[in-house]
Symmetry: C2
Subunit: 334 residues, 2 copies
DNA sequence: CTGAAAGCGCTTACAG
DNA sequence: CTGAAAGCGCTTACAG
């Protein structure tokens, strides 16, 4: 319980025979310090087991060494492993750069709420946001000069920095694959198209038709909400209105599984009667029967990229948003 | 980009006509301050839009307002929504108590690694650990006086504070249910029994047999590793060695699904020939066919409890470990 | 390249 | 109940 008196600059300065200012310079990588003195300081640091006091550094320098990861309450991280994976990718990269990850699970809609205040107070050096429905708060913070990265494309093309999966490319590849394997009538069950991801996947689907000089019938486009149930319900509608539908791109794996259930309950088989492709390459895509063909995104890499863009910003570098590639994974359902 | 000069104690003190010490007392809830002065300070705080500088507070008080959540690298949070859910429960409660959550995804085995140093350096006020295989580091930190809570039972019964699901009770209830529904020969596919959770679920299974004055045949106890594949493989072994097995408690939902696959590929049906119960009540338990009967644990509540125990410790209260109740959810598989 | 000194914005004995 | 003052452990112009 009795804490050993932790060494401070004063102890190191004494031990190394230099001033505290020099200790500070060495520890902050100031290259102008005389090599011998640098060595002496480093040796003292090592011998004394010195460790910087982050609070003192923060107070004096104005930098906290903390990056917030803000997750909207609505996002049900509760059932979705997606966010956890992104976050661990972020954390890994941040830690390697001596930054800590502050997790905030909260309502992000309030431009004037506690989170906004916290971030404005500069209690963190930057903030990484997860896909948001409303980006008013983020834009305000960005305008105030807080380094920001968004995971997922923002709605407005403000000059916000973001990283995202190639949703358009994924939707395109999935749809194309269905046509390539011989499907004549390919439908889509979209996710929440209020989100950019949902919208972009649909755009990819439409693009395939466009390149063929065709336009998909309205009845082939059904809107789900990423839930299993919505996949099942929308598939039933599809089969009713288009008994000859023979290919479906469901915008996530969960809906794809719901769709498969609906297809099988109608007496049809997958993929022979109707081929199905999902999106995410979640565990379920491997455990389901038939195994699901799907669009794989490297989620951890998405988080790592977000962290890297943050670090680049902190270093004052000019940064650009990044779109991460996807990969079509073919299993049994298509 | 030009930051407006943020107000400090000096501005509030001036505006309220009191000393900075009094401002500090009011803001820290010191009840001895004269009510009128308190009101004056609060008014000034409000008018000036004052917000405390956490770094300064930390430096002066020694308290950082930060709680670390340490997640072992091995735990594949990558595919498991469990940890994300626990973490969001923790974060919610911590935020409500003006504490921030610092996420550390890292290797926890090293008693002398960077994480240990970070935590020892008191850059956080406390640490919440997730289920660990080796608790040497945690014990060391606890001995050094760092407030600690563990999510999941520790291996040694050191006096570490922890919160855990009632794994024993869950295993007991699942096994009991299988017998109650008429199963004569109930097997178990365990999870990693190097973990306490895995071990306790098995203990619950054994206890049911014990109360019946019976001992399960060795061949009825198969060890999986929580993966779908292990559930499938172990179930095949079970069916081979015990063709008349008619009930299986799989220690998580994923293995239960693997087991169902093996049962069906053998030409048997679930639950008529073999009833199956899983553990977790994950999404998959609802999306699978047949829908899975399982043991539900309130994962977010687990995180909330962990945070509450941490806060109690910070308040100097005497705290005791908590075991959270589980609930048997019966669907189609048993 | 280096040091003395002021300062970052709070908290907390110490007196009264 | 309140204030003056010292101090928390760093960083950073300013001189030299």
């Amino acid at each position: 319980m009795t804490a050993k008196p932790r060494p401070t600059y004063s102890a190191i300065a004494k031990s190394a025979g230099v001033s505290e200012a020099t200790v500070s310079r060495v520890l902050n990588g100031d290259s102008r310090v005389n090599p011998e003195r640098t060595a002496a300081v480093l040796k003292a640091v090592d011998q004394l087991g010195y460790r910087k006091n982050r609070a003192a550094t923060a107070l004096a320098s104005g930098r906290t060494g903390l990056i917030a990861v803000v997750i909207d309450d609505d996002l049900s991280i509760f059932d979705d492993p997606f966010w956890g994976t992104v976050t661990s990718g972020i954390s890994r990269v941040l830690m390697a750069n001596h930054l800590q990850t502050v997790l905030m699970v909260t309502a992000v809609n309030n431009v004037d709420g506690p989170v906004a205040h916290y971030l404005e107070s500069r209690e963190v050096d930057g903030a990484i946001f997860f896909q948001l429905h409303k980006d008013a708060m983020v834009r305000k913070l960005a305008k105030a000069g807080l380094p920001i990265v968004i995971t997922g494309s923002p709605h407005t093309d403000a000059d916000l920095i973001f990283v995202d999966t190639d949703n358009f490319g994924g939707g395109y590849a999935a749809t194309k694959q269905l046509l390539n394997r011989g499907c004549k009538k390919v439908a889509i069950i979209t996710g929440d198209i209020e989100t950019t991801a949902g919208h972009q996947r649909l755009d990819g689907y439409n693009q395939v038709y466009r390149e063929l000089g065709r336009v998909p019938a309205k009845s082939l486009i059904r809107h789900g909400d990423y839930s299993y149930e919505s996949g099942q319900v929308q598939m039933r509608h599809l089969l009713e209105e288009n008994p000859d539908v023979d290919g479906v791109f469901a915008c996530n794996d969960l809906m794809a599984l719901g769709a498969i259930a609906a297809i099988e309950e109608s007496g049809r088989t997958v993929p022979d009667d109707v081929a199905v492709i999902g999106f995410d390459d979640s565990i379920m895509s491997r455990t389901s029967r038939p195994q699901l063909s799907t669009v794989r995104q490297d989620i951890a890499a998405l988080g790592e990229a977000a962290a890297q863009l943050m670090i680049a910003q902190l270093n004052g570098e000019q940064v650009e948003s990044r779109i991460m590639p996807v990969e079509l994974v073919l299993r049994e359902s298509a």
